[in-house]
C-alpha cells in the first residue's frame, strides 16, 4: 500500500507561468533606481559616497529584518542586539586581540547566531505584545550592556581605531573602494533573500506567515522554522554591524539604540515589507532624502518617526507596493 495520489494524476501538460514584458520592467525599475543612486555616489565619491555607504549597510540589516518580519510575519524590535554583537565582536577582536577582520567577523556572526538561538527558543513562543515587548527588552539589554560593561566595551566612550577591511593586502579605506565592497555585500544579501524566498525554505516561512495552523497541518514544524528565520535575521544583523564598525572605524552604544530600530522599520516600510528590493530602496531613500534637504538634518529622527507613522497609516505596502501596482501578482 505504498501508492500515492501522484499515480492517479492525469499526466496533464503543465501550464508555465506567463511573464509579460511589463512585468519584467516593473521588477527591474526599483533595481535600476537603486543602481542609479549607487552609481552616482561611486562617480562623485566623497560625502555622497559616505551617505550611500551607510544606506547599504542598513540595507543588509533591514534585509535580515525583512526575512523575519516580511517573509515569516513575526515581530522583533530587538534586532539591534545582534547588530551590536557583530559590531562589538569585530571591534574588540580586531583592536584588542589583533585578529584580522574576517575571522573576527565570523566570530561575531557565530556569537550573534548563538545568542539568537538561546534567546529565540523561549522568546518565539510568545505572541502579540508579549513578543513585541520581549524583543524590545532584548535590544535594550544589549544597549545597556554595551554602556555598562566598560572593561570590554569602554562604555559611552566607544571603541575607536577599528581597521578597515583589507582584501589581499589592499586596504579598502577610500570612499569608492568601500562603496564597491558594500555594493557587492548588498547584492549578495539580496541574492540570498531572493533565493530563500523562492525555495522550499521560503515557502515554509510563507506558510507559517499565512496560517500557523495550516502550516502545521501540512507537516511544517512551525517552531523550528520561526527559529531558523530569527537566526537568519540575526546573522544579517551581525554582518551589518561588523561592516559598520570597519567602515566607520568606531563603535559606541548609541549606534545600536532604539533609534536604530525605528530607523530600520522606517526603511522596511518605505521600501515595502516582504519584497527583495524593498529593504534596499527603503534604506537608500530614507538615508539620501534627508541629505538632499540639508535643513532637515537636525530633524532626522523626527522625520523618520513621522514618516513611519504616515506610512503605516496611508501606505502600509511601501514604495515597492507602488512598483507592484504595475504588476498583477502580489507575491512570488
Amino acid at each position: 500500500m505504498n501508492s500515492s495520489p501522484s499515480t492517479i494524476l492525469p499526466k496533464a501538460v503543465s501550464v508555465p507561468a506567463r511573464v509579460s514584458p511589463r512585468r519584467h520592467l516593473a521588477q527591474a525599475a526599483p533595481w535600476l533606481a537603486a543602481a542609479a543612486v549607487v552609481g552616482y555616489a561611486l562617480v562623485v565619491g566623497g560625502y555622497p559616497a559616505t551617505v550611500v555607504g551607510f544606506a547599504l549597510i542598513y540595507a543588509i540589516f533591514v534585509s535580515g529584518l525583512n526575512i523575519f518580519m516580511g517573509l515569516t510575519a513575526q515581530v522583533s524590535f530587538g534586532q539591534s542586539a545582534f547588530a551590536a554583537i557583530g559590531g562589538y565582536g569585530s571591534a574588540i577582536l580586531t583592536t584588542q586581540y589583533d585578529w584580522t577582520w574576517a575571522p573576527a567577523m565570523l566570530a561575531g556572526l557565530a556569537a550573534a547566531v548563538a545568542a539568537a538561538f538561546v534567546i529565540g527558543y523561549p522568546t518565539l513562543r510568545l505572541k502579540g505584545h508579549y513578543l513585541s515587548m520581549a524583543t524590545l527588552a532584548i535590544g535594550l539589554i544589549a544597549h545597556e550592556i554595551a554602556v555598562q560593561w566598560e572593561s570590554v566595551t569602554l562604555g559611552y566612550l566607544g571603541i575607536s581605531g577599528v581597521p578597515p577591511i583589507d582584501i589581499a593586502g589592499f586596504e579598502l579605506s577610500s570612499d569608492r573602494a568601500t562603496l564597491t565592497m558594500l555594493t557587492v555585500c548588498v547584492l549578495a544579501t539580496a541574492f540570498a533573500v531572493a533565493r530563500i524566498r523562492r525555495s522550499r525554505l521560503g515557502r515554509a516561512f510563507a506558510g507559517l506567515a499565512g496560517s500557523e495552523d495550516a502550516a502545521r497541518a501540512l507537516g511544517i514544524d512551525v517552531a523550528r522554522y520561526k527559529l531558523l528565520s530569527f537566526l537568519l535575521a540575526a546573522g544579517f544583523a551581525s554582518f551589518s554591524g561588523s561592516l559598520f564598525v570597519h567602515v566607520v572605524g568606531y563603535v559606541s552604544p548609541e549606534v545600536f539604540s532604539l533609534h536604530m530600530v525605528i530607523l530600520s522599520f522606517t526603511m522596511l516600510y518605505v521600501g515595502g515589507i516582504g519584497t527583495v528590493v524593498g529593504p534596499v530602496i527603503g534604506a537608500l531613500v530614507v538615508s539620501v532624502l534627508p541629505e538632499t534637504f540639508r535643513a532637515l538634518r537636525d530633524y532626522q529622527d523626527l522625520a523618520y518617526g513621522a514618516a513611519l507613522i504616515l506610512l503605516l497609516i496611508f501606505a502600509p505596502r511601501g514604495l515597492a507596493g507602488l512598483f507592484a501596482a504595475l504588476d498583477t501578482r502580489r507575491k512570488p
Binding site: 500500500m1 501508492s3 500515492s4 495520489p5 501522484s6 499515480t7 492517479i8 494524476l9 492525469p10 499526466k11 496533464a12 503543465s14 501550464v15 507561468a17 506567463r18 540570498a192 533565493r195 530563500i196 525555495s199 522550499r200 525554505l201 521560503g202 515557502r203 515554509a204 510563507a206 506558510g207 506567515a209 499565512g210 496560517s211 495552523d213 495550516a214 502550516a215 502545521r216 497541518a217 501540512l218 507537516g219 511544517i220 514544524d221 512551525v222 531558523l228 537568519l232 516582504g274 501578482r329 502580489r330 507575491k331 512570488p332
Partner: protein, 256 residues
C-alpha cells in the same frame, strides 16, 4: 492487537474531550479502513469538528487513544501526524492568502520534498530539478481539482468554493495516507460538488483512505463506504450509507 485492528488505517478508541463541564466528544470509537471513504455526520454542534481536531492533533483528548497505522499517535502534535501521512483540511478554509494558488499547493509539497538553507542558497542540480517537479506537480493537482485557470491568482482572490478545492489540492500535495476533509463541499456549487465526489472516490480507490465531515448528504451517500453518526458528542450509529439512512436513531437525531 487483533488482525482486524492492524489492518485499520486509523483507529479511534474511546476518544473523549471535555471543555470544562461540557463533554464535546464522549467515548467515540471507530475505524477507518485503507482505501475506504468514511464519513462522519451529525447535527450542528454534535462534536464532529472537535473529533477531527482530536485526530489531527490540534487538540489533545482528555482520554482515549488515536492509532494511525497501528501506532499510538495520541500525543503527537499536528506536524508530527502530518509527517506520518495524516493530512487534514479546515472547516473554515485556512489558505495562505498572500500566495498564489499554485504557491499554496507548493507549500503543501513540504513533506514530500527536502532541502533547507543551503539548498535554497546554492540551488544544486537536485534542488533545481525538485523545484521544477514541485511546480509541475502543483499545477497538475490544480488541474485535477479544476483550478488550472486560476493557478497564478492570489488565493485571497478565489471564490469560497474555489478556496475549498484549493485546500484539497494543497492537502493532496502532501501525499496523505489518510486525508481528512472538514466539510469540503460547503460553499461549492452543484458542478464543483459533483467533481469533488468523483475526486474523493478516485483518491480512495487509488489507496488513500479518506475521512470526511460533511453536511451534504448527497455527497456522503455517493462517496462513503462507511458512515459514523455522532450526536451530542456520542456515536449513535455506524454502518453502510444505505443502512444509516434507515436507522431510527439517526432519523430521530436529525428530525428531533
Amino acid at each position: 492487537m487483533s488482525a482486524q485492528a492492524q489492518k485499520a488505517c486509523l483507529e479511534v478508541q474511546d476518544a473523549t474531550r471535555r471543555f470544562g463541564g461540557l463533554v464535546a466528544v464522549n467515548a467515540v470509537s471507530f475505524q477507518v479502513k485503507p482505501r475506504s471513504v468514511t464519513a462522519v455526520i451529525g447535527p450542528n454542534g454534535a462534536g464532529k469538528t472537535t473529533l477531527f481536531n482530536l485526530i489531527s492533533g490540534a487538540l489533545s483528548p482528555s482520554s482515549g487513544r488515536v492509532l494511525f497505522e497501528g501506532v499510538d499517535v495520541t500525543a503527537e502534535p499536528p506536524e508530527a501526524k502530518a509527517a506520518r501521512g495524516l493530512i487534514r483540511t479546515f472547516q473554515l478554509v485556512k489558505l495562505f492568502p498572500e500566495l498564489s494558488a499554485v504557491e499554496n499547493v507548493k507549500v503543501g509539497c513540504h513533506l514530500r520534498t527536502r532541502g533547507g538553507l543551503l539548498a535554497a542558497l546554492l540551488r544544486p542540480r537536485w534542488a533545481r530539478r525538485m523545484e521544477a517537479e514541485t511546480e509541475e506537480r502543483a499545477r497538475v493537482l490544480l488541474e485535477l481539482v479544476g483550478l488550472a485557470a486560476t493557478a497564478d491568482q492570489p488565493a485571497a482572490a478565489l471564490s469560497y468554493g474555489q478556496a475549498r478545492l484549493l485546500e484539497v489540492a494543497r492537502a493532496l500535495a502532501a501525499q496523505p495516507r489518510l486525508l481528512m476533509l472538514d466539510e469540503p463541499a460547503a460553499g461549492l456549487n452543484a458542478d464543483e460538488s459533483a467533481r469533488l465526489a468523483t475526486l474523493i472516490r478516485r483518491i480512495a480507490d487509488d489507496g488513500t483512505a479518506v475521512l470526511l465531515i460533511e453536511h451534504d448528504m448527497h455527497l456522503v451517500m455517493n462517496t462513503a463506504d462507511e458512515v459514523v453518526v455522532v450526536d451530542f458528542g456520542k456515536k449513535i450509529a455506524q454502518g453502510a450509507p444505505d443502512r444509516i439512512r434507515q436507522d431510527p436513531a439517526v432519523i430521530a437525531a436529525y428530525l428531533g
